[in-house]
């Protein structure tokens, strides 16, 4: 299928002499291939369209370079534009605030919030020497609080004792109070999975946000997400003001177009990526790697 975009673009520009400028018709033919690659990689349609329009404008009329073939030149323009759109410099989780610093984890059901909460807590504890408290506000999914507790035991990070029957806002308050009293640096608040179209649950998480005033609000999203990525990211951002994205299941073989979609519609950085079920499977976001993956190169 779409093994190598470079080869395809090479073909389109074969006839072009190594002189003059990139012609609009050639660029447009090339962009049809790029568009196809983006859509097959699950880049959301409006994002793909805008990207193509921007890159076409940039490429048309550019002088053909002597050092590379026109095909390679266009590949580079496309690639650079995508890296730029994905966010060139990596940004880590910030804890630079008055302790205890609240970090709120939000996202759709099953996206990897609880697992990522554990992974980030482990990282902050081990790499940044922070004293972290984790609390599960998930009173809905069976054994969700138990899940976070077990992860805490595995990684040696404290979790807020479970009080059955307590509601999310009360748990959040109790977590902040306990953290203040016991001198924790960071409080990680794991929440129940929710749909961005579920008004009641979105209100609930907003109430938690308003109470704790999180320093980071991270949207945990599945890198295998399809076209819905734009709706999910823009709605969560609009409704709870996210500060960044954690992209999970990057150990899969998906092309990862959701990364571009989410970044493009929110402008918020992708801060970390999950690469497995285990607690150490958390990595920095590398825009160049993701760009090559999306473009299939």
């Amino acid at each position: 299928m779409f093994d190598n975009l470079s080869d395809k673009l090479g073909g389109i520009f074969d006839g072009l002499k190594r002189r003059g400028a990139l012609k609009e018709s050639d660029v447009q033919a090339a962009m049809r291939e790029v568009r196809m690659a983006l859509l097959e990689a699950d880049v959301a349609l409006p994002v793909a369209k805008k990207f193509i329009a921007d890159v076409t404008k940039e490429a048309v009329g550019q002088k053909v370079l002597k050092s590379v073939s026109p095909g390679q030149q266009v590949v580079k323009i496309v690639n650079d534009a995508m890296v730029e759109m994905l966010g060139s410099e990596s940004q880590s989780i910030s804890t630079a605030s008055v302790p205890p610093v609240p970090i709120l984890m939000v996202g759709l059901q099953g996206s990897g919030k609880t697992t990522s909460t554990g992974k980030i807590a482990k990282r902050l504890t081990e790499k940044e020497n922070k004293k972290v408290l984790m609390a599960s506000l998930d009173t809905r999914r069976p054994a969700a609080q138990e899940q976070l507790k077990i992860l805490g035991e595995q990684i040696g990070v404290k979790t807020l004792p479970i009080i059955t029957g307590q509601q999310p806002v009360e748990i959040a308050r109790r977590a902040m109070d306990a953290a203040k009293l016991q001198g924790f640096d960071v409080v990680m608040l794991d929440t129940a999975g929710r749909l961005h179209v579920d008004a009641d649950l979105m209100t609930e998480v907003r109430m938690v946000r308003d109470l704790v005033n999180p320093h980071e609000t991270l949207l945990v999203a599945d890198s295998l997400t399809g076209q819905d990525a734009v709706n999910v990211a823009s709605e969560f951002d609009k409704q709870v003001n996210i500060t960044g994205v954690v992209l999970t299941r990057m150990d899969g073989d998906g092309r990862g177009g959701a990364a571009l979609s989410m970044r493009a519609v929110t402008g918020k950085p992708i801060k970390l990526v999950g690469t497995g079920e285990k607690m150490e499977a958390l990595e920095e976001f590398h825009p160049e790697r993701v760009a090559s993956r999306i473009l299939g190169m």
Binding site: L108, Q109, G110, R141, A143, Q227, D228, G252
Partner: protein, 280 residues
Amino acid sequence: FTQRKLDSETLEELEDLLIASDLGVSTAMKLTESLAEGRFDKEITDEEVKAFLATEIEKILSPVAQPLSLNSENKPHVILMAGVNGAGKTTTIGKLAKKYRDEGKSVMLAAGDTFRAAAVEQLTVWGDRVGVPVITKEIGSDAAALAYEALDRAMAEAVDVLLIDTAGRLQNREELMAELAKVVRVIGKKIENAPHDTVIVLDATTGQNAVHQVEVFQKLAQISGIVMTKLDGSARGGVLVACADKFGLPVHAIGVGEGIEDLDAFDPKQFAEALVGIEG
């Protein structure tokens, strides 16, 4: 309503509409090409376009709409749930258990996810909700050994249906896929023709990777059917059309929420109409 000429620009817009529902580029192109046949450059209304596309999609989906029915000759009828992480396997088992229980069947669950934190506890809560026994082993146990034990118990107690949960796994993780293949093998050794159903659970928010998920799980774990979850959100699950077209595997049911009753029969007409944006 609006009427317009079915020219290449309109066709591209329609293709985009389908792509935006996760149908994928090639399926979308196939559909718009068949629409264009004999109609190109003619006047057509939006309603006609949508009705045509919905009908074409329904034609692809109708043959695969088959509920997960139990064969009473199987004692027990063994259903194995598989799929990538977080798709909704455990929840779907809870919902199916409730459904079979309501039909008067005796049901047993097996907590075959011996890996993820609190996976056993999660299934145990579902077992309690439905009022059916759950076979468990401590975390870290061999999933195949747990399945074997559960089969023993289910046969001894002559239950009608045994639902076996498994840990989530991505299809490109070879070692985890080999482990699943082993579970399937062990079940087949114990009871001929079992598992009678091996269901892959797909998350409706997943994009084109779902096609590859089905492909690999079918090859390594002999998948016999599909359940698609999370259709209560804004994703329309169009990748199911590509899957139906490519694999022809039965689609047994859809998940429309987190509650015990939130499992619906798969209705190809309704699904197709939602995909092309006809209000139901």
